[in-house]
Amino acid sequence: MTRRQFIKTGAMIGGGLVLACHLPFGRRDSEAASEEVFAPNAFLRIGRDNSVTVIVNKSEMGQGVYTSLPMLVAEELCCDWKKVKFRPSPVAPEYNHAQFGPIMVTGGSSSVRSEWERLSLAGAAAREMLVTAAAQAWQVDPSLCRAENGIVISPSGARLSFGALADKAALLPVPKQPKLKSAKKNLLGTPAKRLDSPAKVNGSAIFGIDVHEPGMLTAVIARPPVFGGKVAHFNADTAKAHPGVRAVVAVEAGIAVAADDFWQALKGRDLLEITWDEGKWAGISTPLMHEQYAHLATTTGLIARKDGDAPTVLAKSHERVEAVFTVPYLAHATMEPLNCFVDLKSDSCLIRTGSQFQTVDRAAAARITGLKPEQITFETTFLGGGFGRRACTGSDFVSEAVQVAKAVGQPIKVIRTREDDMRAGYYRPMWYDRVEACLDKKGYPLAWHHRIVGQSIIAGTPFESAMVKEGIDNTSVEGASDTPYDIPNLQIELHSPANGVPVLWWRSVGHSHTAFVMESLLDDLAHKAGKDPYQYRRTLLAKHPRNLKVLQTAAEKSGWGKPLPKGRGRGIAVHESFGSFVAQVAEVSLDKKGGIKVHRVVCAVDCGRIVNPDTIKAQMESGIIFGLSAALYGAITLQNGRVEQGNYDSYPLVRMAAAPKIEVHIVASNEAPGGVGEPGVPPIAPAVANALFALSGTRVRTLPMTPEAIKTAMKK
């Protein structure tokens, strides 16, 4: 069977750009592909059988892009939604991110936002061509014909289906400036069933870990116990003698054992004798880092924002509030452990995995293999969770698989065990925030002096020159430096210490700690001023109608101010991130062991114009549970350079019984579309912390809010 069939089409449109495109057809769709005669641009194929295939340049990791992006095309195409299918795009320039530069990436909650215009135009252009083809057949003025539900209708009521018109439409020029439909939407704003659901409930969805090719070996890698460690020497004699083990090779990441199946590789790995050179990070521990961070927070950092003169105002104030917030390293802990399949030949390479960062991963593979990036075919499978982990600035899981494939000389699938996955990095950085604030005579913040200490996720990566400005990595301070709260004297400073721990974006990135700090302390200040925390925020956000609206919606829908059953407390938080505004109200109690039980979360979101409302709700639910796992349980800690957690017993996640009832309210908005994958995460930790304070008078400023952390805070 031929792996790939290439069809070259000439005129391509992408956001008004005319591009040449090599169009690969994946094997699973090869039968349908032969019927796909109308390929007006890089994102759309229409077949004689009326099928509409949308080629999606974003990775499906649960956020629903295999449905929402086709909806954008289908809305303008006026096709029959029931005929719409999705297909993952290959890696090619026309599939690069529409806003982030020459790179194919899924991240920053940007898929719908960045593709809205391009995919709308792609659909509109195709519709105009189909209408023109029909009008020519009928010899009528195209402007008198219309497209509806996959059919073009003439003024006299004659009908031709898109499939019947596909051959003729393919011969027409692509309109350079297609006209978008009127404001009335048929699909957008109405819940649509996810196109990927059927494959995900019958076991047929193929994730990276499911990839299988003839002659393939499966490999696991023995990795150094500390970051930056190297193999000093090793003995693989017994490992090689284990049944099924075919090769043991040294790679950058450690010693790889390749075998006929995973279990044999794992058993073979157990038999390796390795002496490690642990390198310079063998002594690091999170308590020591904490001390270092605490010291740094007493010194002046780089200024990320300065309004007025917070230090001077604070120096004169008699009633300063001083608060220290700490949050730990966090693992992404995607349910699908990291993995990658590589078939390397002398002049070509096939990589198949679930990646959010295809261009970067492919470039890394090119460096390792000596091939040109264009010689490397990169196929994206379903991702068993992403959360930023599969957009790795260091391309770690792809690089190691390419290195193993190169050393072994056979097609290889490298799989990480859960422990490999959790201990080998990357993590959300540990953060230490120190804030001093004081109030004006009316009880509102007069000065806020905030020092943030934590590793930059961008420094030392290829993105440093583009994303770190004058020493400030914006992802370290976002959510604080751009706070909408009206504080006349505001100073945000940053320290970015370096150490050996690999760090990366983790769902909601900087907002995952700054929202906790801002919204917790705001709550404290409200209480200090003797004001209701909801009303306090309303006053401070008076000039920000979108923040205000979600805040008000969450408060009203949650019954803010109404009595709660005994033993329950209610907390509120609001935060803007990734172009969307989210407010949440959490209702909590304390269980017998002193742990927090979250009963109910009411969430209001304004994410601008919407595509699939059910996906928005699902993403808010998802963000809340994800954020709750971090708020209540999540911590990666190090001792003697070693990560102390390894699996879901030591790194627990929210389970069924701990999952609160969640209500999501979408605030109608005609603003530009915002993201939905991440913005649900930031408000939940402060909403819960604020609810705990309302319930118990205890302010917890350390995550996770374990029974021990709560007990410690109560003593203060």
Partner: protein, 157 residues
């Protein structure tokens, strides 16, 4: 060693070591990749299969223990099963990786307790992690499937 397994009603053979967990026999040898690897320690439930109708974590079940027993994986659950239909109706799946294990646990629950309450669901589903946080929808889908199953039975003469 050549072993014979009865999976989804079919006798299948694989040449594996007897200590190999059932999960890897299913995935690597029988190519039934719907059953997922998540933790390797019985902590996440992604690998859940039915063995003689009872849910088990196949990642910690040596294949030697299941010879001659009836094994059901996600591939063996019919498309018209009320739980599959409910999972689709409630739009449960996000990344989808844990869902085969979730569905298998739910199949076992409904077989044992046709009308589960929320506490029954908590108990039966607590071993299945979902990093996307689809718990609320899983709970709804189980209730929906349970209601559909009951009403269909009710209509039968």
């Amino acid at each position: 060693m050549m072993i014979t397994l009865r999976v989804n009603g079919t006798k299948l053979q694989a040449d594996v070591g007897m200590d190999t967990p059932l999960l890897w026999v299913l995935r690597d040898h029988l190519r039934l990749t719907g059953t997922k690897f998540g933790c390797g320690a019985g902590l996440c439930g992604a690998c859940t299969v039915l063995i003689d109708g009872k849910p088990h974590r196949s990642c910690i079940t040596p294949v030697k223990d299941v010879q001659g027993k009836s094994i059901t994986t996600i591939e063996g659950i019919p498309e018209n099963h009320p739980l599959i239909q409910a999972w689709l109706a409630e739009e449960v799946s996000q990344c989808g990786y844990c869902q085969p294990g979730q569905i298998i646990s739910a199949v076992a629950l409904l077989a044992q307790t046709p009308k589960p309450n929320d506490t029954d669901i908590d108990r039966a589903m607590t071993g299945n992690l979902c990093r996307c946080g689809t718990y609320g929808r899983i709970r709804r889908a189980i209730h929906v499937a349970s209601a559909n199953k009951t009403s269909k039975r009710g209509k039968q003469p």
